[in-house]
């Protein structure tokens, strides 16, 4: 597709940025140089999406869906959850959620879904315009919520919905589960061919699997640089820099991006450059980011020398990707996508967190209990108890939403954070 106008837009943004440089903060290390490149990539992604209709088939996709298969058919993919995070970061959550609530969607429902549905009704978005989907592609490996949400969109727009159903792993994954998932892939292919008007190609699929897995592995290496002290980046950076592995996985651009990011981080490690000026304590984050608090909290923690160096959330796009194998693309994809943290039992989650706490030498854990997200949140109180008993890690649980700040109690959370800081400093 022709890249009309995007370069001009980037130049303009760049100039604007030059006019208003952000004041350096004493508590933070030097900003990542890659951030400009990231902004460029994501702006371009959203910008091109405005003109994509007609040039490419458009699919709206859940964040944990096996997008590699869609890439074979050249779908332009839009990630409503990533869009939700963008709206959250720009503090537009309540306004867009309200558009859905006006039509009867309950304010207790996941706010990513409310933002997306609110956007569908109103067209409101900080991204200019999102293209209407030709296909809704939903994988319930992160939650059942996405299934309920996508079928609403499917009804509202009368657009086909393909569900990739990944049986929850209450215990170990079974061969019958794999068979079920592989059969679903086989059933999808003719439908995808019909919707996209393009033919499936084994060769192309293998290549994309290779690209996707390489990008995720590189993302894993990016995260692993934070095992060093001082860590060359923080989880607040990672929340932002994860956008390509979520939204552009399987495309060369995401792999290229993580290669340069990794290079920059390795360079920082070599030169002892930390993401915060004085890393005294190392923390872990559990759950999605509170997008509207990202900047505030990165400063708040940095001021005290506390650095978030690990998060279960950012890890999710690296954790199971080693299963991906171009030699057995369908089986390996079934494993890689159905064994992710949110589709796996609680024992697995606890062990994973224990391992991360050890590997990253974590002093304190912040658990965000999200009113939006049942699969991430149900069980967290017990996780706090068990990790405390086993590892003695200091833990704080805070209740909030990732985008909808109408329920956010600034004062209450501030008090709890202060108490946690004291505990950490003891």
């Amino acid at each position: 597709m022709k890249d009309l106008g995007a370069p001009a837009l980037f130049r303009l943004q760049h100039m604007q940025k030059k006019r208003r440089p952000r004041k350096p903060n004493l508590h933070l290390g030097p900003p990542l140089k890659c951030a400009d490149r990231l902004r460029e990539i994501m702006t371009r992604h959203y910008y091109l999406s405005r003109f994509v209709k007609g040039a490419k088939p458009v699919a709206w996709v859940t964040s944990g869906a096996p997008v590699e298969l869609l890439r074979v058919f050249d779908f332009y993919t839009v990630y409503p959850e990533n869009h939700g995070a963008l709206c959250g970061a720009q503090k537009l959550g309540p306004e867009i959620c309200a558009k859905a609530e006006d039509r009867g969607y309950h304010p207790d429902l996941c706010s990513y879904a409310r933002i997306d549905i609110g956007h569908a009704f109103s067209g409101k978005t900080p991204a200019g315009r999102l293209p209407r989907p030709d296909l809704l592609f939903c994988c319930n490996n992160i939650c059942q919520t996405v299934l309920y949400w996508y079928k609403e969109l499917s009804h509202y727009w009368d657009v086909p919905l393909i569900v990739f159903d990944t049986p929850f792993n209450f215990k170990d994954i079974q061969e019958s589960d794999i068979r079920y998932m592989v059969s679903q892939f086989e059933e999808m292919i003719p439908r995808l061919e019909k919707i996209s008007g393009r033919k499936f190609s084994d060769k192309r699929f293998e290549k994309i699997i290779g690209l996707g897995s390489e990008a995720s592995l590189t993302w894993g290496k990016v995260l692993a640089t934070m095992k060093h002290s001082p860590a060359p980046m923080t989880i607040f950076d990672a929340f932002v820099h994860m956008a390509p592995v979520v939204s552009l996985r399987g495309l060369p651009v995401s792999l290229d991006y993580y290669r340069i990011l990794l290079e920059e981080l390795e360079d920082r490690v070599e030169n002892g450059i930390g993401a915060i000026a004085n890393e005294k304590k190392r923390l872990m984050w559990d759950n999605i980011a509170v997008w509207f608090k990202l900047r505030d909290w990165s400063l708040l923690f940095a001021e005290r020398g506390f650095n978030f160096v690990a998060a279960t959330y950012t890890n999710a796009w690296a954790e199971t990707i080693h299963y991906l194998d171009p030699e057995s693309p369908f089986e390996s994809m079934a494993r890689a996508y159905s064994l992710v943290i949110l589709n796996n039992n609680m024992d697995h989650r606890l062990k994973l967190m224990e391992g991360m706490i050890r590997d990253y030498r974590i002093d304190g854990l912040v658990i965000l209990s999200l009113r939006s997200c049942k699969p991430y949140s149900v069980g967290q109180y017990d996780i706090r108890r068990l990790l405390g008993e086993r590892l003695g890690v200091k833990t704080l649980v805070i209740e909030a939403d990732m985008t909808d700040f109408r329920t956010f109690s600034e004062e209450q959370i501030r008090t709890r954070l202060e108490a946690f800081f004291e505990q950490l400093e003891e």
């Binding site: 949400w149 499917s154 919905l161 059933e187 699969p375």
Partner: protein, 358 residues
């Protein structure tokens, strides 16, 4: 006899007891293995212990289920069965199994999510057999002929319940709304040997002209709780003409013919059952189902009586209301906490709704 008394007696008779969480599971297999499924939906308990494990934004079906376990009221059970159902039940199941190290065995049952294709059917068929294999380790072998017998009984239960629903739809059951659900909900723990005769007696005793003149409505949601909703409708002279409850018509078995292969029979029945949010059924299918019920019963309106924080249901409601509105059918939605009674405001809303459809 109380539910507890009944379960104790079943145990004394040599039957096994499984505590079963909502909602869809192959009860015929349990019956065939001499297991009584005791479903756990809305035990009348005060929440004292579950809050330490679950956030305030988790539905009370999940919370009360956990409360029942934490209060030690499940000691009589031989294990638990967790159908997949929704994110909250899924995680609760895993928390109980992995973190609380339940002293009793936990079994899990994943049902495929719609839209279905051949893969879903094959998976379901196999998954039934996998459930049997895991249960056999504790409860001994399943006899295929007994399974056929139990399927037959299940079809009988379903036929009787359908009969009951049909009579009510016609206004020819001489009972209150409250009495109707009291009996229907006995199916949540009675063994079919006992439930079938109870239903037969109930049907023959109450067939009559009792409810004809009353204003018919449909109820939708998970279950008729708070129970006061039913008494309020009784008091207002409203007849629940049919329901789309998860504990109600959504679980009415659609009998399949072929009994040669009982697993195939159960698979066929499962996929023929009415649409349900917890299975991922489309809005179109659910709306069609509601239209059919409205057409068949002449219902004047639909009340969505929905458990607070129930995502599967709350996502469907705006579109369902919209579709019903297009057909000129009035709707009301209530956001309810289990066993918490009806607030004054809710009573007023129901009264206003009834007056409007009057």
């Amino acid at each position: 006899m109380t539910r507890k008394g009944y379960l104790v007696k079943q145990k004394e008779m040599g039957r096994h007891l499984l505590g079963v969480f909502p909602a869809q599971y192959p009860k015929e297999i349990l019956w065939a293995m001499n297991i009584v499924p005791a479903e756990i939906w809305d035990p009348p308990l005060e929440m004292t212990l579950a809050n330490a494990h679950l956030q305030p934004t988790i539905c009370s079906v999940v919370k009360l289920g956990l409360e029942l376990i934490l209060q030690g009221k499940c000691d009589i059970l031989d294990g638990f069965l967790f159908p997949h159902t929704c994110d909250s039940i899924q995680n609760l199941a895993s928390v109980i199994n992995d973190y609380m190290k339940a002293e009793k065995p936990c079994y899990f049952f994943y049902h495929p999510k719609a839209p279905y294709d051949t893969a879903s059917r094959d998976f379901y068929h196999n998954h039934l057999k996998e459930l049997v294999s895991s249960l056999e380790k504790q409860f001994g072998p399943l006899d295929p002929d007994t399974l056929k017998q139990r399927i037959h009984q299940s079809q009988k239960v379903s036929a009787l319940l359908t009969g009951l629903y049909d009579l009510r739809a016609e206004g020819e059951l001489n009972i209150t709304n409250e009495e109707f659900y009291r009996v229907v909900r006995h199916g949540e723990y009675l063994f079919p040997d006992d439930f079938i005769p109870e239903l037969e007696v109930f049907l023959s005793r109450n067939k009559g002209q009792g409810m004809k003149g009353q204003a018919p409505v449909l109820l939708s949601g998970v279950l008729p709780n708070p129970p006061e909703i039913l008494t309020l409708l009784d008091d207002l002279g409203v007849r629940v003409a049919h329901d789309d409850f998860l504990i109600g018509s959504r679980r009415l078995l659609v009998p399949a013919n072929n009994l040669d292969d009982p697993f195939e029979n159960l698979t066929e029945s499962y996929f023929a059952m009415p649409p349900c949010s917890t299975k991922g059924s489309s809005i179109g299918e659910r709306a069609e189902y509601l239209f059919r019920l409205v057409d068949a019963t002449g219902a004047k309106g639909v009340i969505f009586n929905v458990v607070k924080f129930c995502e599967p249901e709350w996502f469907d409601i705006p579109n369902l209301k919209e579709e019903l509105k297009k057909r000129g059918i009035s709707t009301l939605s209530l956001d309810t906490d289990l066993n918490q009674g009806l607030s004054g405001q809710m009573v007023t809303r129901v009264e206003a709704f009834v007056e409007m459809i009057g």
